[in-house]
């Protein structure tokens, strides 16, 4: 048997387990059969096992350069370093869908194992739904996107290697898997919501694991999107990190609705309302991940015509349509089973802020969705080739983000439910000095743009409220006689989700401020320099020394040495490069970045002419590092949210107070 046949055989086995597991899961869910659930579990594990083996076989073929496997012949090359050969599993379409199958297997296994106790009546439906998604992807891997085709004879002795852009930076090793963990992971909360609708019940016992299973992929998606921006910044050489590119938007859309769902789930848990709304958001999130995969994997973004050249695009569109119809039918039949408990909601209360937050996030989703789909529709309907410019997105994104920042300050300051006017006024006025102070600091540091000043003020307000909220239970404990460190420690352990949540808010505030500053105060400069010449950009003086040529097995690199001085003091040198890959006609630049906590100096080689002159682009951007730091803080915060709360065995009356403030 050839490697191709073994690989395809394993994929077919995975397909069979899904084909069996899906109906068994749904029947077991409907009949509440324990045996049926047991079989669904076994088939779920078997699916994951076959997907893992299929991926290992592909990985083995890649590492051993088995060019008889079509995918290896497409992306493999003898000269490619080992670590890049390993990650080229997800460097191209067919491999990435195979990898998708593995990630789905991981999530299926995790849900099956972690939810093994309790919730039996939900679990069968959940696994049935997940295996239904698995059925589609196994079918894609076995059929239209089969990476295990046999290469037509004669088998080549070497291949072209993966896309050079993917070889050019270490971030490409971690960015796609994180994005996949986020994308594929959304199948879990989707399946759990489907299970709740089929059972006709979404109580707090199922909502708790559901929130965690939503939080986990959302945090992967957050990291994945950030690393994508970082990669774009470090590799692509235009000095920015976000361009509202369809590929970026595809990952951003489900993230927005997932964030909205996480917030409305909090209202649901606290007030028992918004059950149907939360379910809709989670389902839309899943649909958007499929839409995103369709957009990025079918080539429809580049041209409507390239979409029909392979069956993969239409297949994804068909699956998207199937899921959409399924979701609509399920919702219309079962939505009234998710009765919300009547609550006396008030707009001037925490739940009002949550509602506005959801409205803003959904508006944001619509805006990005329209801007992403408009060119495709315009080309399909009117035959006009257009794209939607960045100003369209920015015009909507800036006020929406300012609104979210405002709510991040005002929302947590407001109490739940109705409250009297005096306590409202006090809650909202106390953080105002912090806002004014933050705005003054922004102005002193040179912030002049109204949006930047407003961001500063709102960030100051939100920071004060966040800190106040995090420390409030500890303050109550300290007043009752506990020492300050002990009070903080105990209150944090009791409610890790609360602390984590506010830490995420802190990370968002840091990121928003950094984006506002870096977007408004970038200095951009292009020039052509002869060796020995000096140019200045910002406070920097750049002296071009020389270009040296470095030969590496898989490419030839032209490296320009540029000496850096700041305010007359030498600060070492940077070496931006232009890499020539034998398989590509266009060279690919590798920018060199000097990152500091206040600003980045960013150099890109545009070209090197025959006389050895250097075409250089230099960009000074303030505060960029804080974007990555902010997102990292968000990730840590999310991690803390997933820590189970510790029951503190101390006789005290603080819990009642905490419940009132959290």
């Amino acid at each position: 048997m050839t490697t191709s046949q073994i690989g395809l055989g394993l994929v077919l086995m995975a397909l069979l387990t899904c084909a069996a597991g899906t109906p068994i899961g749904f029947v077991a869910g409907a009949t509440r059969s324990a045996t049926g659930l047991q079989w669904t579990r076994r088939l779920a594990y078997a699916f994951a096992f076959f997907m893992l083996l299929a991926n290992l076989v592909m990985q083995y073929a890649l590492i051993t350069h088995d060019f008889s496997v079509s995918y290896v012949a497409n992306v493999g090359s003898l000269a490619t370093p080992l670590h890049i050969t390993i990650v080229s599993l997800w460097s191209s379409l067919e491999g990435s869908i195979l990898f998708w199958g593995l990630v789905l297997g991981i999530f299926v296994t995790a849900v099956t194992y972690l939810q093994r106790q309790g919730h039996e009546d939900y679990l069968a439906y959940t696994l049935g739904t997940m295996l239904l998604v698995g059925l589609f992807f196994s079918f894609m891997i076995a059929g239209p996107a089969n990476p295990f085709r046999s290469t037509p004879l004669p088998i080549p002795a070497d291949g072209p290697g993966p896309n050079p852009l993917l070889q050019n930076h270490i971030l490409m090793i971690v960015h796609p898997p994180l994005l996949y963990l986020g994308y594929v992971g959304m199948t879990a909360p989707f399946a759990m919501t489907v299970a709740a609708l089929l059972r006709g019940q979404l109580g707090s016992t199922w909502l708790r694991p559901l929130r965690n299973w939503l939080l986990l992929p959302t945090s992967f998606l957050t990291m994945g999107i950030m690393l994508g921006g970082w990669w774009s910044y470090e590799v692509l050489g235009w000095g920015g990190y976000w361009a509202w590119d369809p590929v970026e938007n595809a990952s951003f859309l489900p993230w927005l609705t997932a964030i909205a769902a996480l917030h409305s789930a909090i209202v649901q848990q606290r007030r028992g309302s918004l059950k149907a709304w939360t379910s809709i958001l989670i389902m839309v999130t899943f649909l958007l991940t499929i839409l995103g995969t369709f957009l990025t994997r079918s080539g429809v973004v580049n041209s409507v015509h390239s979409f029909t050249q392979s069956p993969i695009g239409p297949m994804f569109l068909g699956f998207l349509g199937f899921c959409l119809v399924g979701v609509v039918v399920l919702l219309s039949l079962r939505i009234d089973t998710l009765v919300s408990e009547p609550a006396e909601d008030s707009v001037m209360a925490r739940e009002g802020a949550f509602l506005l937050n959801n409205l803003l996030l959904v508006t944001f989703t619509f805006t990005v969705l329209i801007g992403t789909l408009f060119p495709i529709i315009a080309e399909a309907v009117r035959g006009v080739k257009v794209s939607v410019g960045e100003p369209y997105f920015n015009r909507m994104a800036v006020p929406i983000c300012l609104g979210l920042l405002f709510l991040m300050g005002v929302g947590p300051a407001l109490p739940w439910g109705r409250s009297d006017r005096r306590s409202l006024r006090r809650a909202l006025l106390v953080p105002l000095p912090a806002a004014l102070a933050a705005m003054a600091i922004t102005a002193l540091l040179g912030g002049r743009h109204p949006n930047v000043l407003l961001t500063g003020a709102l960030a100051g307000y939100a920071l004060w409220v966040t800190l106040d909220q995090v420390l409030r239970p500890a303050r109550v404990r300290a007043r009752k006689g506990e020492s300050v460190p002990q009070a903080i420690d105990r209150s944090f352990r009791r409610a890790p989700r609360r602390v984590g949540g506010y830490l995420v808010h802190f990370g968002v505030i840091v990121t928003f401020v950094a984006i506002a500053i870096s977007a408004n105060y970038q200095v951009n400069f292009e020039t052509t320099m002869a060796p020995g010449q000096t140019a200045s950009v910002g406070d920097y003086q750049l002296t071009f020394d020389r270009v040296r040529v470095v030969n590496e097995p898989h490419m030839v690199s032209q490296r320009a040495t540029v000496a850096i001085a700041r305010g007359g003091k030498p600060k070492g040198s940077l070496e931006p490069a232009l890499n020539h890959y034998p398989t590509q006609r266009e060279p690919i630049g590798t920018p060199a970045v000097r990152s500091t906590l206040t600003h980045d100096l960013y150099l890109t080689v545009m070209n090197v002419d025959e006389e050895g002159r250097l075409g250089l682009r230099a960009i000074v951007t303030p505060a960029v590092s804080w974007i990555w730091i902010g997102v990292f803080i968000m990730a840590v915060g999310t991690g803390i949210c997933l820590v189970p709360p510790k029951k503190v065995r101390v006789a005290e009356s603080a819990p009642a107070m905490e419940a009132a403030t959290s």
Binding site: S232, S303, F366, M396, T527, I588
Partner: protein, 163 residues
């Protein structure tokens, strides 16, 4: 209970309808002004005065014999042609490494009243399927117009913009 539910439902639907209306108005109003049109030199000249002020992504070949670098070393002038029409381009960009006469390029910018095209994004489209300019010109233009999307990888080579 049912009366209260109906009232709330009506309220919720009204709120969603109003916000959807406002949203559609904002979004579509904004799209019209911010569209980028993908045109060939012939299409651009056919549009006449209508093209002035719009953001245009123009695709074509760098017309041989038109590349001209100003003495200050900053300004670069050349013409983009599709065989039938030709548009003069002015840019302050440092051209990307593969820029030369006869090569396929995509430029993004606006057209001025004097008919010259000012750009701050210049991208060489040197597809692997490309042949040397000559008998295959028509095919090439078609392929070029097909691939005028700037994807993330191609932002590497185009001009400045703020992130």
């Amino acid at each position: 209970m049912s009366k209260e539910r109906t009232r709330r439902l009506v309220l919720a639907i009204t709120a969603v309808a109003i916000s959807a209306g406002v949203l559609a108005f904002l979004a579509f109003g904004g799209i019209g002004e911010n569209l980028v049109y993908y045109w060939s030199p012939t299409e651009l000249q056919g549009a006449g005065d209508e093209a002035i002020g719009a953001t245009i992504r123009l695709g074509g070949l760098v017309e041989p014999g038109t590349v001209e670098r100003a003495a200050d070393g900053l300004t670069l002038k050349f013409a983009v042609t599709d065989g039938a029409a030709s548009v003069p381009i002015v840019t302050n960009n440092v051209p990307p490494a593969m820029f030369r006469e006869g090569v396929g390029v995509v430029v993004e910018g606006t057209i001025r009243k004097d008919g010259s095209f000012e750009t701050n994004r210049l991208l060489v489209k040197h597809d692997n399927q490309y042949r040397a300019p000559g008998d295959g010109d028509e095919m090439e233009m078609e392929a070029l117009m097909e691939s005028m999307q700037f994807d993330r990888s191609q932002k590497a080579q185009n001009g400045s913009e703020d992130g």
